[in-house]
Amino acid sequence: MITSIIVCGSLLLALIFSIAYLLSPRIRTQVERPKLQFLKQVQDFDEIATHVPQSQQGQQNES
């Protein structure tokens, strides 16, 4: 009984989450946005911590 609830419950929730993610571009954007925000925050922090202005980033790579 309990095991059935766990299996069905977890699969159902995962399914709902997945379908919503696949069908709705808005949800997709919302769900994925934190990873981009986080990266920006990390880069901001690195800039402060290591004192390399963001404007220099990428320039050396291009050259």
């Binding site: 309990i2 766990i6 769900v31 946005r33």
Partner: protein
């Protein structure tokens, strides 16, 4: 002010606290590893540790608590001081609070915890070994951590919470709830029901304290070091919710085949399997997030984290597999599980912790940074931990297989020895790796790590949001996602405690009510004190007290443990490892003097034993036990007594009370209540020995099993002989019939230290019998008719009441004697020995000296007469 500048303005990382926790972590790690090395060496050299050193169990307590709180706890705190400001865009609550947290964690938890445990104040619960006084400070520490790290998220009002934040928040909340549950509940909930709560904490400690923190590091360091966002935040969320839902439901898989209700066990097994699926999703996401970074990334923090991902996959799949009942039946209690826990804590979590610390370390220009030392640390640790885990896993398979085949317990120890040697050797690169890590943090150029970060960052994307056409505008959904993360911790805690703690408790209480005898004898004061000694010395780390519901356990130990048998166990002593045999039914299995000798000098009675000596419980001799030793033996002798006293009427009544409980019926209909192979039994029913006995095998078995008491040459002068009453027999002056040897080896000698050897195979017992017979120097005696006549008369007057008319040891008084009188039909001592026994008696038996009642002539005559009873001359033959 837009969010981007606000992030910048709000960020302040307290590097002093990062450094403080990092150094504390490394020091605690080295101390804990030192404990571990001493422990592992004792497997190979059991007498290696000097007497002044705390006992094996106390070191074992200190080892695990040191790794979890001292090392990982400090490492995670260090990382959080770096990560939380970055994730939340806000500084942590305050430095003062941070200093208090550091002080509480290290000066009120770690140092007193170690001192108390090493001094003998502890709790015999896996991952909860620090005493309850220290537990209070752990909770204070966790509360301070919550006050320090949660408000930045709340104050900032973070709307789109990154996955690392979810894990940090959920992990902190869950641990705050589960720690008190796992550390206090078993003190108030007895036996298996308490174990159900214990099981929850065992898994929560790893799954919901260590794993979320480690995963937070993985999700943080990978994008931060590669400069690319993780592959999919959707998959990471799927993983987060899956893990937080399923991890808490895994706990009972530590007690599969125990008396904990099967419904709870099946729930845990299923959750373990599903967890494996979720972990594969998480790991796939993490591996894809590293695309382009190479198999061995250049960034040292990322390199450690990358290896942590691999370890996480292996340990999780392994965990799911070992919850499978058929595999669990074999590998549970073995070194497989020890390998698994080392892979989790030293592999996955430690590599994540190091990755997190080094990632932060690189970004602190004021600290020293030695890249070469970190390189060395990485390779040494990868090599050492891999060898250790593979080795322990193989050892577990070998041990499990031998147990399944019901081979003598000692053979599993002997077979494990090569693996234990490799395990100890593997500690060399592991310890060297940790030393290199510490060296790297205190040597090298200041700011060298920051230089490396700058070089790597210049090659990365300029603005990830711009590159993906996104802004930092918050989405309308998930406005209060940190609240949801907190709620996740709370809701899943309640769910797991209800399903795997409270429900089993209720079922076990019903079972106890239905099956327990009306009155249960409480422990005597001595037994209760003995239980404390047993707990204090960590005996439950090597000896379980649960006979599992498996055929192998029933065959080796007897009827599986019923719920009511642990009714007085606060906290439970079920145990999760068997280095020595299960002790559920130790009561009445061994004599007290054997127990004293074994505690004082284990190898004197069991030459191949690896049990540590507890000579500190004695005053210089096994015959002079201190109160602790007496109490401990009193406790050991009480184990299983309650069921024994209720047997067989109690079991018969219980069978009727729970006719539909299949598992209880398995216990109630087991062929033997106590099937311990060493338990002595009344004479008779011994299987006949084979006629052919292998000489070499017999001699080898003699050295391994008998020489400690009877001596190498069977003169009865083994190391342990001095501590026994009656003393072990001098077998050179006795000859035994084969049927008598069959009886003694099968049943032991009840009331003496001579145990039964039922776990030896028929061929082994036959070979051993040959070895015994070959020691004998007794020769045929010349007939002496005059002596015989007088001897018969003396025997009739003085000996027959005990030894019986025909010398069978079955006189009318025999049943009243603690040790059965000798059966002269099956054993004959030399004439000189018989005279010696008659003159001196046998200390520790009812056989008194006869010199005050019999003349010298009478003694000689009766000695001659007794020799006539020995009729059997059958001797085994060698192949």
């Amino acid at each position: 002010m837009n969010q981007a500048t606000e992030y910048k303005a709000g960020i302040h990382v307290d590097t002093l606290l990062i450094r403080a926790h990092s150094y504390a972590a490394l020091i605690a790690l080295l101390i804990s590893v030192t404990f571990g090395i001493i422990l592992s060496l004792q497997f190979i050299f059991p007498d290696f540790a000097p007497q002044w050193l705390p006992g094996w169990g106390r070191l074992r307590y200190s080892h695990t608590q040191g790794i979890m709180f001292g090392w990982l706890g400090n490492a995670f705190l260090a990382f959080m001081y770096h990560a939380v400001p970055v994730l939340s865009g806000r500084t942590v609550t305050s430095r003062t609070l941070g200093l208090w947290l550091f002080g509480v964690w290290n000066l009120a938890v770690m140092i007193p915890g170690w001192i108390l445990v090493l001094s003998g104040f502890s709790q015999p619960l896996e991952w909860a070994e620090f005493p309850m006084l220290v537990d209070v400070f752990v909770i204070v520490g966790l509360l301070l951590a919550a006050c320090q790290f949660l408000p930045p998220f709340i104050r900032r009002g973070v709307t789109d919470l990154y996955v690392s934040s979810w894990y940090l928040i959920g992990g902190l909340v869950f641990t705050l709830l589960s720690y008190p549950m796992g550390n206090f509940a078993p003190e108030f909930v007895p036996g298996a029901a308490g174990a159900a709560f214990s099981g929850l904490w065992i898994h929560d400690a790893v799954g919901l304290f260590v794993t979320p923190m480690a995963l937070a590091i993985l999700y943080f360091v990978i994008p931060a070091a590669t400069g690319r966002p993780i592959f999919s935040h959707f998959l990471s969320m799927l993983g987060f919710w899956g893990l937080f839902f399923l991890y808490p439901l895994n706990g009972t898989h530590h007690y599969i085949f125990s008396v904990i209700p099967m419904e709870a066990q099946l729930t845990a097994i299923l959750a373990s399997f599903l967890l494996g699926v979720v972990v594969i999703i998480v790991v796939t996401n993490l591996l894809l997030s590293q695309r382009g970074a190479g198999i061995i990334p250049k960034d040292i923090g990322l390199r450690f984290v990358s290896m942590a991902v691999v370890f996480y996959l292996v340990v999780s799949v392994q965990g799911s597999l070992q919850a499978n009942m058929s595999l669990n039946q074999t590998v549970h209690f073995t070194d497989w599980v020890i390998g698994h826990s080392h892979l989790a804590m030293l592999g996955f979590a430690t590599f994540a912790g190091i990755g997190g610390i080094l990632h932060a370390w690189q970004r602190m220009p004021e600290v020293r940074y030695n890249a070469k030392a970190f390189e060395w640390a990485y390779w040494l640790l990868v090599f050492g931990i891999s060898i250790m885990v593979i080795d322990l896993t193989l050892a577990g398979v070998v041990q499990g297989q031998l147990w399944q085949e019901s081979t003598p317990w000692i053979e599993s120890l002997q077979a494990s020895r090569p693996y234990w040697i490799v395990r100890s050797l593997s500690a060399i690169p592991v310890a060297a790796g940790f030393i290199a890590l510490l060296y790297g943090m205190i040597s090298g150029k200041r700011g060298a790590g920051a230089d490396a970060v700058v070089a790597s960052r210049l090659a990365q994307e300029t603005n990830p949001l711009a590159a993906h056409g996104e802004t930092l505008e918050s989405s309308r959904g998930l406005k209060m996602s940190y609240v949801i993360a907190c709620a996740a911790g709370f809701v899943f805690f309640v769910l797991s405690v209800s399903l795997l703690g409270l429900l089993p408790k209720q079922v076990l209480e019903q079972q106890t009510l239905a099956m327990a005898p009306g009155a249960l004898l409480p422990y005597t004061p001595a037994q209760a004190r003995g239980r404390d000694v047993y707990a204090r010395e960590g005996c439950s780390y090597c000896h379980s007290q649960q006979i599992r519901y498996t055929d192998t356990d029933v065959a080796r130990f007897g009827a599986p443990t019923l719920a009511w048998e642990g009714r007085l166990e606060f906290p439970h002593m079920l145990g999760t490892r068997r280095i020595g045999p299960d002790l559920s039914r130790a009561g009445g299995t061994r004599s007290a003097d054997w127990q004293y000798a074994h505690l004082y000098d284990p190898r004197a009675v069991v030459p191949a034993s690896i049990m540590p000596s507890y000579a500190q419980l004695f005053e210089g001799s096994a015959t002079r036990p201190r109160r602790d030793a007496q109490d401990l033996v009193a406790y050991l002798d009480s184990l299983g007594r309650a069921r024994e006293l209720a047997y067989p009427e109690g079991d018969a009544a219980a069978r009727l009370a729970v006719p539909d409980n299949r598992w209880a019926q398995m216990s109630l209909t087991a062929p033997m209540l106590n099937a311990h192979p060493a338990r002595t039994q009344a004479r008779g029913n011994a299987p006949a020995l084979e006629e052919i006995g292998d000489i070499a095998l017999g001699q080898s078995l003699w050295r391994e099993n008998c020489a400690g008491c009877h001596g190498e040459q069977a003169n009865g002068d083994g190391v342990a002989a001095q501590w026994f009453e009656p003393q072990p027999k001098n077998l050179t002056v006795r000859e035994y019939s084969r049927s008598m040897l069959a009886d003694i080896l099968w049943n032991g000698v009840h009331g003496s230290a001579m145990p039964a050897w039922r776990d030896l195979s028929s061929a082994q017992r036959s070979a051993l019998a040959n070895a015994v017979q070959n020691f004998s120097t007794v020769t045929q005696e010349a007939p002496n008719p005059a002596g015989l006549a007088l001897g018969a008369s003396v025997y009739l007057d003085h000996c027959v009441e005990c030894h019986g008319d025909n010398g069978a040891g079955n006189g009318f008084a025999a049943a009243q004697l603690p040790i059965a009188p000798t059966d002269f039909r099956g054993v004959r001592a030399s004439l000189a020995e018989r005279v010696r026994v008659l003159e001196n008696g046998v200390q520790g038996t009812s056989m008194a000296p006869w010199t005050d009642r019999l003349s010298s002539n009478e003694i000689d005559a009766v000695a001659i007469y007794i020799g006539e009873f020995f009729t059997s001359t059958d001797r085994g033959t060698a192949p």
